[in-house]
């Protein structure tokens, strides 16, 4: 059996980062401090470092707030690729695979796992490049299926429920003032017209009182 690989996540980086929500109110990001060793399900540690660096250019940590690094987006992507989605368990994958009009969407054989494994190789020695060099590298692959997946997954990892591995400490939801899947807005829907109303974000588990069942944990 393959030796399990780990990624050390610098969660400390965001302890106390000050940023502004859409409501225009200053907020101090809440997240764990210290570093955490997270077991990887799909990536090697080296692959995870490359993907993490690329996500950090797509959704950077900058003056407009924390980004993919603080949200642990790479952990989210790792779990997605290890699960049924990454393995194309719900995509039609019978041959023949033929090129068609763009209106027919992605028609190729490669699963998201295969696309990442090959795509990461095209990034080469990505982590040793300066930020401008990393951006240039990403711009050169912008039109590829790999980059489009990476960009989409980065946004998903920023803003999906933390049970999927990203949005650590609800940092993505704090950033955009999204309250999470609250049970009822019956008394609020027709109020606050024209004013930002930003209840404190809560995760699905905090709201439902029991853990959800993320699809990536389904037996494959």
């Amino acid at each position: 059996m393959k030796r399990r690989q780990f990624l050390t996540v610098p969660a400390a980086a965001i302890g106390g980062t000050l940023f502004y929500t859409l409501a225009g109110e200053p907020v101090r990001a809440q997240a764990q401090t210290g570093t955490v060793k997270v077991p990887l399900r799909f990536f090697t540690a080296e692959e995870a470092r490359v993907v993490s660096a690329a996500c950090a250019r797509i959704f950077p940590s900058d003056e407009s707030g924390p980004g993919a690094t603080e949200a642990n987006v790479v952990i989210f992507i790792d779990r997605q690729l290890a699960g049924p989605y990454g393995r194309d368990k719900y995509r039609y994958t019978k041959p023949p695979f033929v090129e068609s009009y763009p209106e027919h969407g992605y028609q190729a054989k490669e699963s998201p796992r295969e696309t990442y494994r090959a795509g990461i190789k095209t990034l080469g020695d990505f982590t040793s490049l300066p930020p401008a060099g990393q951006d240039a590298k990403l711009r050169s692959i912008e039109k590829t299926h790999f980059f489009q997946l990476l960009r989409t997954h980065t946004i998903e990892g920023m803003f999906s429920d933390p049970m999927h591995g990203g949005n650590a400490g609800l940092i993505g939801w704090q950033l955009i003032g999204y309250p999470g899947p609250q049970m009822s807005y019956r008394d609020e829907i027709d109020k606050h017209f024209g004013q930002p109303w930003r209840p404190k974000p809560r995760s699905l588990e905090q709201i439902a009182g029991r853990p959800g069942k993320p699809w990536e944990d389904e037996q494959v």
Partner: protein, 584 residues
């Protein structure tokens, strides 16, 4: 193959139509009824921990598994079809309740002239003015015949809305363009959101007639005539593509199953995938199905009711070699013809103020029907015959899906610091003015079996031959100008580019309104089933659902599907079972 003990009635599909037929038959006859659903069992209590945007709204966890079965698509006879490898332009459901679990809840009646559209268009314009390729037909049933059944369907689900035409009296605040109804809606309209209230005020200033979208998301607690009580909507914003965690959105699991569970002459067999309707000498003899373990069974039945989604109704008839497949070259045959979808286009509107758009309900919204059918415009000379409704809805923006939507020109790229800053600035500041227009049927748009691609069992997939025509482009262009006028009145920023004239696209979600293939009509030459949805070639086979629509109307189809299901069920009880050997 194991032979099972016979039942009186075998129903294929455990969604709205199959379970509603079962409810009617088990209440009004002594027939033993078995419903076969290929998906998993679902219950109301399953939905408490499913309010997860990623798995449900984006990965589409409730939908049919495309790895097992999908459709193929081509734009014309000249092209080769390719598989729709992952869900895009529409979302077929699976499991108990089918697509009725994850729908939004829009519950309209069709305009009276929709049911006699061919006659109407010929009378209004003359046959010579209509496009040669037009395959529009009359339904063989009228609005007046369906009206009491529309009311039954509205009561079943407790539809929230406001009448605009009560027994001929026009009422401001409701849809004054609708056909006459005998009753006010069972429950009052849903509340407004900030965005829908701005839309309503703007269209009223422009002289149009806004009304609240009639919704199966209950505005208040409601007990239906079957004694089923459901709670009012919580506006949680997790509705379309989700099951409702409080049961406020009418779904087969919370509306039909509580009644059916008490019936002794009813059984639901989930994970039972019907692969053929078995028949001999012009009579259906039962259904052949495969269970989750891959074992095959034959279920003998005296009556078979095909009540799955439009796609599978058509495909199962073709796989079972029942009826004559449509041939677009000779225009002979009926099975698979008159495939329609829905015509839409959106104008994205941007506001300086935040919308708190994470709140919402599946069909919370305001709309106008001032241009529905052929009212409000006189462009038939330019080839525009029918239009539709313009609306703004607030069904709950997630955190992921609406991130990055911004006015044109705000960011040069779609990643990196500049983009992130603009995306954060515009998050929760935009809504969409939509169009839902009639999709007319054409000779060239149809369904048949694909010659190349197969499902997990090796059976041919269903193939769509479908493309947009000039009429749909004209509908969109007319509607976009109207949407922009409304956007301007709302004081919003918007993209004023004309809508795309691109080919049919299988990637971007449009609606799950797929119609035709087993259409109803007055003659076996031009339809698959008669006006009671009984198969012309096989009196003990009924085919129920939107597959019976000869063309699509502007509104969402579910309420009409349910009204038609009541209509067909009533005909089975009163006309068919007394004489099951002959056509009604």
């Amino acid at each position: 193959m194991t032979n099972l003990k016979p039942v009186d009635v075998a129903i294929v599909g455990g969604g709205w139509t199959g379970l509603l037929v079962a409810k009617e038959l088990t209440a009004r006859t002594s027939q033993s009824v078995a419903v076969f659903e290929r998906g998993i069992p679902r219950r109301l209590q399953d939905y408490a921990v499913t309010m997860d945007e990623l798995d449900y709204n984006i990965r589409l966890r409730m939908m049919q598994n495309t790895a097992e079965e999908t459709i193929t698509h081509r734009h014309s006879l000249k092209d080769s079809a390719v598989p729709v490898r992952q869900h895009g332009s529409f979302h077929p459901g699976t499991g108990t309740g089918g697509a009725g679990e994850h729908w939004g809840g829009a519950s309209f009646r069709f305009l009276p002239d929709v049911f006699t559209l061919r006659s109407h268009l010929v009378q209004k314009h003359g046959a010579a003015k209509l496009p040669e390729d037009l395959a529009v037909q009359d339904w063989g049933i009228t609005y007046d015949e369906l009206e009491p059944l529309y009311w039954k369907a509205e009561q079943l689900m407790g539809i929230s809305g406001k009448a605009g035409n009560l027994r001929g009296q026009k009422i401001e605040g409701g849809n004054i363009f609708e056909g006459p109804r005998q009753h006010e809606y069972p429950t009052p309209p849903l509340k407004h959101s900030f965005a829908s209230s701005m839309f309503e005020a703007a269209v009223r200033r422009l002289g149009y007639h806004p009304y609240p979208t009639p919704a199966a998301n209950l505005s208040e607690s409601y007990k239906n005539p079957d004694g089923v009580t459901r709670a009012g909507c919580a506006y949680c914003g997790h509705c379309q593509r989700y099951g409702c965690m409080v049961g406020a959105k009418a779904q087969p699991t919370n509306t039909l199953m509580p009644v059916l569970a008490m019936r002794k002459n009813f059984q639901l067999r989930t994970e039972s995938w019907v692969r053929r309707i078995v028949h001999k000498d012009g009579r259906a003899t039962g259904v052949q199905f495969t269970n989750a373990a891959g074992e095959e069974f034959f279920q003998p039945a005296a009556t078979v009711i095909l009540a799955s989604f439009t796609l599978n109704n058509t495909r199962l008839l073709a796989l079972s070699k029942i009826g004559t497949p449509y041939d677009p070259a000779t225009r002979k045959g009926t099975l698979g013809r008159n495939l329609t979808h829905q015509v839409g286009t959106n104008t994205r509107v941007f506001f300086d103020k935040p919308l708190n758009a994470f709140m919402g309900a599946g069909e919370l919204g305001s709309r106008i029907s001032d241009f529905d059918g052929d009212t409000g415009f006189t462009d038939a000379e330019d080839g525009l015959f029918r239009l539709g409704m313009i609306a703004l809805g607030s069904n709950g923006d997630g955190a992921i899906g609406s991130f990055g939507i911004m006015p044109p020109g705000e960011s040069k790229t779609n990643w990196g610091s500049e983009w992130k800053k603009a995306a954060l600035k515009w998050k929760d500041h935009s809504a969409s003015i939509g169009l839902s227009a009639e999709h007319l049927s054409y000779r060239a748009n149809y369904m048949d079996l694909d010659p190349t691609y197969t499902d997990k069992f090796g059976d041919p997939l269903l193939r769509f031959t479908l493309n947009w025509t000039d009429h749909e482009f004209k509908q969109r262009e007319f509607a976009a100008k109207l949407q922009q006028k409304i956007a301007r009145e709302m004081g919003a920023r918007f993209d004023d580019n004309p809508p795309s004239r691109a080919r049919y696209n299988v990637i971007n979600y449009q609606s799950t309104h797929i119609q035709g293939g087993a259409m109803m009509g007055a003659s076996p030459e031009t339809s698959v089933v008669n006006r009671y949805l009984q198969h012309w070639d096989m009196p003990n086979l009924f085919v129920v659902g939107a597959s019976a629509f000869p063309q699509n109307a502007a509104p969402n189809p579910t309420l009409t599907v349910l009204a038609l299901t009541y209509w067909a069920s009533d005909a089975m009880v009163t006309k068919y079972f007394p004489h099951p050997e002959k056509l009604i």
